[in-house]
Symmetry: C3
Amino acid sequence: MKKVILLSEIIIFLGDIVSAVYGLEEDFYVSGIASRETSDKDLIDWVHPNCIDAQKTAEASMSRLIITSQNVSYTRALQDAEKVLIQVENPYNTIAIVGNEFFVEKPHPGVHESAVLSDSASIGQNASIGANAVIDGCTIGDNCVIAENVIIRKCVTIGDHVTVKAGAILGEAGFNFIDNKKGGLMRFPQLGRVIIGDWVDIGSHTCVDRGAFSDTIIGDNAKINNLCHIAHNVQIGEKTIIAAHVNVSGSTQIGSNVWIGPNATFRGHQTVGDHAFIGSGANVVSDIPSNEVWVGNPARFLRKNEK
Amino acid sequence: MKKVILLSEIIIFLGDIVSAVYGLEEDFYVSGIASRETSDKDLIDWVHPNCIDAQKTAEASMSRLIITSQNVSYTRALQDAEKVLIQVENPYNTIAIVGNEFFVEKPHPGVHESAVLSDSASIGQNASIGANAVIDGCTIGDNCVIAENVIIRKCVTIGDHVTVKAGAILGEAGFNFIDNKKGGLMRFPQLGRVIIGDWVDIGSHTCVDRGAFSDTIIGDNAKINNLCHIAHNVQIGEKTIIAAHVNVSGSTQIGSNVWIGPNATFRGHQTVGDHAFIGSGANVVSDIPSNEVWVGNPARFLRKNEK
Amino acid sequence: MKKVILLSEIIIFLGDIVSAVYGLEEDFYVSGIASRETSDKDLIDWVHPNCIDAQKTAEASMSRLIITSQNVSYTRALQDAEKVLIQVENPYNTIAIVGNEFFVEKPHPGVHESAVLSDSASIGQNASIGANAVIDGCTIGDNCVIAENVIIRKCVTIGDHVTVKAGAILGEAGFNFIDNKKGGLMRFPQLGRVIIGDWVDIGSHTCVDRGAFSDTIIGDNAKINNLCHIAHNVQIGEKTIIAAHVNVSGSTQIGSNVWIGPNATFRGHQTVGDHAFIGSGANVVSDIPSNEVWVGNPARFLRKNEK
């Protein structure tokens, strides 16, 4: 069953964000958010603030409700088509807020009956723990979402508002073998912790290994996508964004506000400065200063990161 | 216990595919299919149609039963060795059919008792749902095999004859964060669907994210290997083959009959034409026309794809 | 609760490894191993044999107990600070042995109640099988650790002292599709085995596919990190080390004592000689002789591997 929301609810929720409303004669229901491919009169449409032909785009919309910035006027064409126009400062941000509030399904707090939860785990308020999750004696903050099949070992501490997507594995021993002097190899002891800040996202099947003797650290608001490997003793700064399949080998230190493209590799023991930008598929084998864009294999300086 | 099959059963099953049978005096059992490394008289041997010395290869076989094309004759040597020779047009295809019919173990239809199945899931005939699978209110067609630990969210629609291997995750929110204007980042709402055609294979631990507002689409007969990431709003055409570790970032559109080598990366928003061939480890940062071979980092045109 | 160990226990355990002990007036407890970041008087500190200023490093330590080679003397400074100095031939190796013996938590032998175990599985002594593991009728040796969510198919044989980390999948059908002559594709039958030697480590979410007709083989003491893909009919030699995200495509043969860097790719059907070294992010599309270092995309010879 499709979820429907009254327009008036949305306007009340947005409050001060709304600069102006045009054409609202009677309340009606909307059932989602439109895209170029899925347009429909019941879906909320919106015009990106950078759209080069905003007025025309708005007038071509199939939707009854359109959210735009003030670069779209309530013209006769919109009027005749009985559209409702809501003007806001930033339609992109507004549509995100509306989508998250009204249409994104929230996980229910609680622990699924199939989860394996240690008595010594410390779990904050409003946590949601999914099916088949294995939660050892770790510490998890408030408002966290731990999805299905996630494994969290004892050595892990997680802040508030953290999402760990399905199948992620946090706190395993790092990959560090030495000669055992008997013809074989033995794992070097891995005794450190994993410390994860607030508002962090960890992607599906991503692995974050514990440090050897000191810790693996992920800063507040860092966002890590699916199938990444974050090795022992790695440090990742605040608001750093890591795309899928990224491999951060041991003891690499990555600053804050760094952007790392899909399938980039760090050989290990590199340092990456704040606001660096690492291209997709980059193979990083040297240190990268702040505010630089590096790409290629091996990764090389391309240009300053002006952003 | 090894499975054994009577030769007569195989001949009956093959029917018209068999051009000629030589040396069959009495029925006997076979127990599998030979390879260069595992030869044995009870295993069915076969000679690839492109083999440069087919006759000699057949005569050197340890097996009692040999399947070849008509470029192998039932010589005195084969006769004296009491071999049975079956001639077919395409031994490669024939051995595949025989292997799949008689020796590959089929999953049993049914839902494993440990699976977590939503009441609102719509599941077709003869589906097999493995242990610890989590199936939300999605739609799954007939004759599908959903292996262990697979997670399928509500927004997913799957056709008939689809195999989803263990640990695959279908329908998660895409990786798309924007400034939340409070010093942090928020996920842009992800409300689209995942639409998967018929005869699709999804590899182990592969992640297919839902679209943001429109859909992520995988065409009929597409085959995707292990540990791939198929991001939000990606489209993949029919009969496209994607090797392991491939990263297809958001909104990339890939045509039909494309071959994508292991560990190739798409930066996002690229278009790839039909019958393109992308080499292993390619880092695709631009559009690729139809019928072209591209390789390298960044990926560059190598030659026309004559195949 | 932190684990504490009496120093005398450690000295007794080390036995002959200890060359000399200085400053031991009375027994005391230690609670772990120090690192540059986590120093504390109760942690055992140690000086790497290659440290360029070993004496000074030892004297600057916060720890009460320091393990060094004989290049550190029990100076007046150490004496005045009431330090205990243990001299050994190889402090790096010694600290590994001490860490593994006294501080690394060992898995408990036994099968978790949520594991799905086939009656026909043959499992050796002292095995530990984690939560939600799915163990089909395979063979597993003595002293193996099979972590949570691991899937092991019937066609797999595992030696002794093997660790399979969480989410690894062993023995799935390989990725091998051929034209089905009806407009689609069919999987070529995959009937071979996976043979894993002794003392092997398989990383989290790593997939090891079975061979088509012959076998996929992993030699003794091979160590494979997280999120790797080992395809059908691959052979990996003894003591070969494979970092995370490595993709070894079908029928590749890798020798012994090879080191493969993170996110390296093998296109398939390559041969790699013993003691080769493959750099991070290398895209291997040709054979690599023994004792050579190859890097880049495509991977090229860089230099002899002198190590």
